[in-house]
């Protein structure tokens, strides 16, 4: 070992023994401990309790009865619930694709602006919907997209376009909900992409420019590969959120018309809190959790080939 190499661990040792480190350590552990406590109380324990409850039949009122895997057997033969998984997957894929595409497009456009205040203005504008209460937004959007009395159809009518059944036809309701979810969530993806694009090394971009690459070629061959880890992160977060879509369809359509917008979380709510089948509702929740884990795992598998780490 060279003298220089030997000095490195010694320096680390010295830093570790710095008096301020001793004072900071308990504070750090306290902070981490607090987070762990919150995660345990509000996430881990409920998940494990739900797993346990999924093996019971429980109507809140009577004592739970152990039923083994009956709830799971029922789930895999329950047509409407299985359909809700299909509806959720379809809507989630549409939301993720639109959210990533739109978020990237907006980030690229905003990043091209030279004036800082314009970039700040757009960043704020696109991020604002995310701060609004989803329930309030959904109620408001329900009024806007009302078939007969909604403002959207009113203005379309002024252009000579007949009323559109935004929320009263199966396809229309699913599409409207997807668009609203994208509108509200795109700000998060956008901010991630803006930050990531700003970290793309300028020398690489300049080299591409010197080599004659146009804006589109630079985007798809240079920028997108370089920010692909952020795209993966955004895709994973967006998909996990979209698979748990509840507020918008529940408030705007109550899962209808028919079951066109009945997502898994709505099925779970209906079975658990409305039909008082908490065991069955828990089983649906656990299967949804497993489905999200599998899909996220697949995303990471795909990322091995598609994501470029510097």
């Amino acid at each position: 070992m060279s003298a220089a190499a030997a000095e490195v661990p010694a320096a680390i040792t010295r830093r570790r023994r710095h008096p301020s480190s001793h004072r900071e350590a308990p504070f750090g552990f306290a902070m981490i401990g607090l987070s762990c406590l919150f995660v345990a109380i509000f996430t881990a324990i409920p998940i494990v309790a739900s797993l346990g409850l999924s093996f019971f039949s429980w109507d809140v009122i009577s004592s739970p009865q152990f039923v083994g895997v009956e709830n799971y057997q029922r789930l895999f033969t329950d047509g409407p619930v299985l359909k809700s998984f299909g509806v959720t997957l379809g809507m989630a894929l549409a939301i993720v694709v639109l959210q990533l595409t739109l978020g990237l497009a907006l980030a690229v456009l905003v990043n091209q602006r030279k004036l800082v205040w314009i970039r700040t203005l757009f960043r704020t504008a696109f991020y604002l919907p995310l701060l609004a209460s989803t329930a309030a937004v959904s109620i408001f959007m329900g009024y806007l997209f009302d078939y007969k009395f909604g403002v959207v159809n009113y203005y379309l009518g002024l252009l000579g376009i007949p009323n559109v059944p935004w929320l009263t036809s199966g396809f229309g309701a699913a599409t409207t909900i997807v668009l609203i979810a994208v509108w509200q969530q795109v700000g998060f993806t956008f901010v991630l992409f803006v930050a990531s694009l700003m970290s793309v090394p300028t020398d690489v971009l300049e080299a591409a420019q010197i080599d004659g690459a146009g804006p589109l070629r630079t985007l798809f061959r240079i920028k997108v590969p370089l920010i692909s880890p952020t795209i993966l992160f955004a895709a994973v977060v967006a998909l996990i959120n979209a698979m748990q879509l509840f507020d918008q369809p529940y408030i705007m359509t109550k899962g209808g018309p028919g079951s066109a917008t009945t997502t898994v979380t709505i099925s779970m709510y209906q079975k658990g809190f409305q039909n008082l089948q908490f065991g069955y509702g828990s089983a649906i929740a656990i299967v949804l959790l497993v489905a999200i884990l599998i899909i996220t795992g697949l995303q990471f598998l795909a990322a091995r080939k598609l994501v470029f780490y510097q």
């Binding site: 324990i45 998940i47 109507d59 004592s63 007969k148 109550k254 809190f273």
Partner: protein, 469 residues
């Protein structure tokens, strides 16, 4: 992105073990709470707790008003009323059950027809038979004032589970201004479905106005048309029993003739000819442009649209008088009439009342409070501003509706007295599953235009729900 890694084996195992132990404890706690909801619980020895559907401000006012009377019965008891907000009784019921699950069951609860059979079948409450029999002379005035149809709707399997104090029947509200503008003569009490459609067609000619608005739910939805078409979602029957009450409290009252021990909801009949015909009629109304596609839920939006004169007619009960006034409608700008006659003029109704929780440790005191709650002077404390119809006939007066309207307020009680075939909404013990399926299948029918397919689906849903209950 490199930050996400699966945890190492030993850590993961420890985590799983700890989480498993914690989860087990959580589950055990849930089981305890469930047991508490069924057997133990009740409020503390120093308080008498009541759950109330409405605003806390009104609940507190009622609580303060009744406290002196309760203190006379037991000076050590503090009366506590917790208000629960909700869009409808379904919503209220879900929140009540959550409170029970949380281990805080009340002593007294107000429950509507929607939740009565669920509560009774699960034995959450106690039958009031013994208390009523014991205090029959004191309650003579109460029973003389309240229609037997309301009392019968609070019976299940021959027992009385609640003392009713309010109800709402599905009558037809209309905008007098829109009727006038369209040149439609206000409907008479024996108007027919043809009259209804003629009026609707004239009103629909105004741009931006829908002749008839409705919401998807069990009470006062297309189900009102179904009742007028002599059809129902479930086979109708009545439980035996109840003579202990009818023979004593309603002796000699012709309105009590044929009353039994409560409504017995039998096999589903959701895809019967009459039911399909009723839902098809709604689809036709939509196709003809006489009615917009309905929302699902409590009807707040509908009242708002009606109050802004964008809807000509809608199904409402006595609660619409207060609702429309609160929404800014002036007295005289709306009126009410009986539901139009189709094959019959049978109406549906839902009633509200009070029950004593089985887990209560102060049942005798709770019974005394129940008697206070159904006294005439308590009604307006519980329901300020005509937000429901009084169950006591003596309270349905011109003076009550002088400020709010409607002009034909007498229709509310006439629904019970002039149409004895009027019946409660079909709310079996599996009401929640029924309501969910009904909402889903109704929107399916309206969007697809195929009532038969949707109601075949509803029939199947209800058969499963009935089998599982």
């Amino acid at each position: 992105m490199t930050g996400i890694h699966p945890p190492g084996g030993p850590i993961a195992r420890r985590t799983v073990l700890k989480a498993g132990a914690a989860g087990g404890l959580g589950l055990a706690a849930l089981a305890d709470l469930a047991a508490c909801g069924n057997n133990g619980g009740g409020s503390s020895s120093k308080s008498l707790k009541m759950l109330y559907f409405g605003e806390q401000a009104a609940a507190t006012q009622l609580q303060n008003r009744l406290q002196p009377q309760i203190s006379k019965l037991d000076p050590s008891i503090k009366f506590e009323i917790s208000a629960i907000n909700g869009t409808d009784w379904n919503d209220f019921l879900a929140k009540v059950l959550t409170q029970i699950a949380a281990g805080t069951p009340p002593d007294i609860i107000s429950v509507a027809t929607e939740g009565l059979q669920l509560m009774a079948s699960k034995e959450l409450a106690i039958p009031l038979d013994d208390y009523v029999t014991k205090d029959l002379s004191a309650l003579k005035e109460y029973f003389a004032d309240i229609h037997p149809a309301l009392v019968e709707s609070m019976m299940y399997q021959g027992h009385l589970w609640e003392l009713p104090d309010s109800f709402n029947a599905g009558n037809m509200f209309y905008s007098t201004e829109l009727f006038q503008r369209a040149g439609v003569v206000p409907p008479s009490e024996n108007w027919t479905l043809d009259d209804f459609e003629t009026a609707a067609t004239k009103i629909a000619k105004f741009k931006g106005i829908n002749a008839f608005g409705w919401v998807v739910r069990l009470w006062g939805s297309w189900t009102s048309f179904m009742y007028a078409n002599n059809a129902n979602l479930l086979e109708e029957g009545k439980y035996d029993g109840g003579d202990w009450l009818w023979n004593k409290a309603y002796a000699g009252d012709p309105a009590a003739a044929g009353r039994k021990g409560g409504w017995k909801w039998g096999a589903p009949t959701a895809n019967s000819e009459g039911t399909v015909e009723a839902l098809n009629y709604m689809i036709e109304l939509t196709k003809k442009g006489l009615s917009p596609s309905p929302d699902v839920g409590g009807g707040g939006t509908l009242q708002g649209l009606f109050a802004s004169n964008r809807i000509g007619m809608s199904i409402g009960g006595g609660f619409w008088a207060g609702g429309l006034t609160n929404a800014g409608m002036k007295n005289g700008s709306f009126d009410v009439q009986l539901f139009p006659k189709w094959k019959s003029q049978r109406h549906l109704f839902g009633a509200g009342g009070y029950a004593i929780f089985k887990s209560s440790k102060k049942k005798d005191l709770a019974w005394e409070v129940l008697k206070l709650l159904v006294k005439p002077d308590t009604f307006d404390l519980v329901f300020p501003g005509n937000v429901t119809t009084p169950g006591r006939k003596s309270l349905v007066t011109a003076a009550r509706y002088a400020k709010t309207g409607p002009k034909h307020w007498s229709v509310f009680y006439d629904t019970l007295t002039k149409h004895p075939e009027t019946a409660p909404i079909p709310a079996p013990p599996y009401y929640n599953a029924l309501a969910t399926a009904l909402n889903q299948r109704t929107t399916q029918a309206i969007s697809s235009g195929d009532a038969k397919a949707a109601l075949d689906g509803l029939q199947s849903d209800l058969e499963k729900a009935a089998g599982a209950s």
